[in-house]
Symmetry: C2
Subunit: 300 residues, 2 copies
C-alpha cells in the first residue's frame, strides 16, 4: 500500500519510526535504531542513520515528520520551544522543515513552561504523545504522566497542554543504583512487589527525601530488607515521593499514564496506592500525534 507519511520519534537514546498509510494506519514500523547521541557520531550523521534505519521507505513523495530530542541543540535541527497553552494548531504552524537528498523532513517544536519564572521547564517529544492521546481518546482535559528517564507530569485543558514539570526520578534511581553506597547492597533477583510497596510508604513519609533513601541501606544492614529487595524498595521510595509531591489535594482527578511496560505499571501502583484513579493509555500515542500534527499542517 502507498505510504503517505513517515513518522519519527527520535530521542537521546531511542529511535522509533512508522510508515503510515492514507488514514494514518501503520503499514510498517521500526522499533530500534541509534538515539541522537549515537547517530551524531556516525559518519554521515543523522542523515546516514536515518537512511540505514528506514532507507527502503524513503520516497520524494512521502514527507517525514519527527519529534523528540532530534529537534534539540544536539539534534538535526534545533526548533524553538513553544509557550503554553500549546495545542495541535500551534505545533502544526511552527513545524521547521529541511531538505535532505530530495526528501522533505518536518521537525516538531518543543514546549516550554514558565520561561521567565523561577523554574522554567522544557520538553521535546512528549507534547506530540499528548496530542496523540487527545486525538485518539477525544478527551480534552486531564492530568498525564509520561514516565521515563526524565518523567513529565502534564496538565491538559481545552485540548491544550497548559502546564508540565520534569522529574528526574528515573535518572536518579539509576545513579543511586549504579554509583551510590545504596547500590553496593543491591543484588538482582525476582521482582518484589512487596518491597516496592514498602518503598512507596517510605516515599510518602515526612522528612527530607535524601534522608529517607538512606533507609534502603539501614534496613538492609539490619537484615530487614533482603539484598534482592533493595532495588525495588528504592524504586518505590523515589516514585512514592514523586507522586506524593506531584498530586496536590485539589487535583486528585484521574491520571493517565502514557507509557508502557514495567515503569508504567509502577506508576499505576503508586497512584492507586494513594487512592488516585489512574489508567494506562493505549499504545501508539507518538505515532498518532505525529500523524495529527502533519494533518493539521496540511503536509498530508
Amino acid at each position: 500500500m502507498t505510504a503517505s507519511l513517515i513518522g519519527l520519534d527520535w530521542g537521546t537514546t531511542s529511535f522509533r519510526a512508522w510508515r503510515m498509510g492514507a488514514d494514518g494506519q501503520v503499514l510498517d514500523r521500526v522499533n530500534q535504531g541509534p538515539g541522537i547521541l549515537a547517530a551524531a557520531k556516525l559518519p554521515g550523521g543523522f542523515q546516514a542513520a536515518l537512511t540505514a534505519a528506514i532507507g527502503p521507505w524513503l520516497h520524494p513523495s512521502v514527507p517525514i515528520i519527527a519529534s523528540g530530542m532530534i529537534t534539540s541543540r544536539n539534534g538535526w535541527v534545533e526548533t524553538p520551544y513553544q509557550p503554553l497553552p500549546l495545542g495541535v494548531e500551534a505545533l502544526a504552524q511552527t513545524l521547521v522543515d529541511e531538505d535532505f537528498d530530495g526528501h522533505r523532513i518536518w521537525f516538531v517544536s518543543g514546549a516550554i513552561s514558565d520561561r521567565d519564572g523561577p523554574s522554567p521547564d522544557v520538553m521535546r517529544g512528549e507534547e506530540t504523545e499528548i496530542i496523540g492521546h487527545i486525538a485518539a481518546s477525544g478527551v480534552s482535559e486531564g492530568r498525564f504522566i509520561l514516565p521515563g528517564t526524565h518523567n513529565k507530569w502534564a496538565q491538559v485543558q481545552d485540548g491544550k497542554l497548559t502546564a508540565f514539570r520534569t522529574v528526574m526520578t528515573g535518572e536518579v534511581f539509576q545513579l543511586l543504583s549504579e554509583h551510590s553506597i545504596l547500590g553496593r547492597l543491591i543484588q538482582q533477583g525476582a521482582p518484589s512487589p512487596a518491597a516496592f510497596l514498602r518503598g512507596l510508604q517510605a516515599g510518602a513519609a515526612d522528612g527530607p527525601l535524601l534522608g529517607r533513601i538512606f533507609s534502603a541501606r539501614s534496613l538492609a544492614l539490619m537484615d530487614r530488607l533482603a539484598a534482592t529487595e533493595v532495588a525495588d524498595y528504592l524504586s518505590g521510595l523515589l516514585i512514592g515521593d514523586e507522586v506524593a509531591h506531584s498530586v496536590t489535594e485539589d487535583a486528585q482527578r484521574t491520571v493517565t499514564i502514557i507509557g508502557r511496560g514495567d515503569l508504567a505499571e509502577r506508576y499505576l501502583m503508586a497512584l492507586q496506592t494513594k487512592g488516585i484513579e489512574a489508567t494506562i493509555a493505549a499504545p501508539g500515542m507518538a505515532q498518532r500525534g505525529l500523524w495529527t500534527i502533519a494533518k493539521h499542517a496540511g503536509i498530508i
Copy 2:
C-alpha cells in the same frame, strides 16, 4: 612530654590521629592517612596502616582509642550499635578492646535509632564528636548537624544523644555533579554565593525534589544561570531542601554545626536564610570526645 592517650577518628576515606598529654591536650597530630577502604587493602591491613601513620607514637603504656567506620563490618573490629538515648557512660561501658603487637586499642560503639521502626538509622564516629561537644561546651541540650558525605542531624537532651537522622545530600550532590545530565552543564569557576542563595530558594519551594533539581538544567538552557554557577545553585537547592524538611516548626532552636570549612559555612547560610539561629562549633570535637570517653572508661 609523656603521652597518655592516642585517639583515632578513622573513617571510610579519612584518617586523623591525636597524641594527647595528661590533661587531654594535643601534643601531636596527624591529619591524613588511608581511610578504611584503602587501609584494608594494604599488606598488613589496618595494623600496618596505623604503624605507618603513627608508628613513633606507639608505646605499650599508651592506650589507643578509635571511633568512626573503623568499627564497622568492613573495619578492624565490628562493635555493636548502642540504642538511644546514648551518653558518655554507655559509650565508655561498651568499648571493645583488642591487642595489637603488645598495644591495646579500644573501639567506640556506634549508635542506632529506631531499630525496629520503619526507618532505622545508624552512625559511627559522630556520636563521639557530639560527646566531645557536650564536654567542651557544657551544653547538654540542642540540635546538631554534622555535615559530610552523609550528614547527620542529631538531637541531644540531658547530655545524651536522643535522636538522629542521616541525609545523603553530600553523596547525591557528588553523583549529580559527576554522572547526571545536570553535571554535564557544570563548569568550574569562582564560588558564587548568589547562585547558592538562588538554589536555597528553589530548595525550599514546593514540588518533588527530583523535579526541582531539573531547574539547574532548564535555567542554564535559558541562559539564566551561567555554567560556572550551576554547581553552587545545585548545592544550594539540595541543602535548602534538606534544611526545609529537617527543621520542623516546633524545633526552631539554635542549631550547632559540628564541622569545618566550606560545607559548614553553607549550612550556616542555609539555616540563617530560614531565620534559624545557627553556630559553628569549635574545632577538635572528635579528639575531645575520644578523650572524654576514655576518661569515663578508666583507660586513662
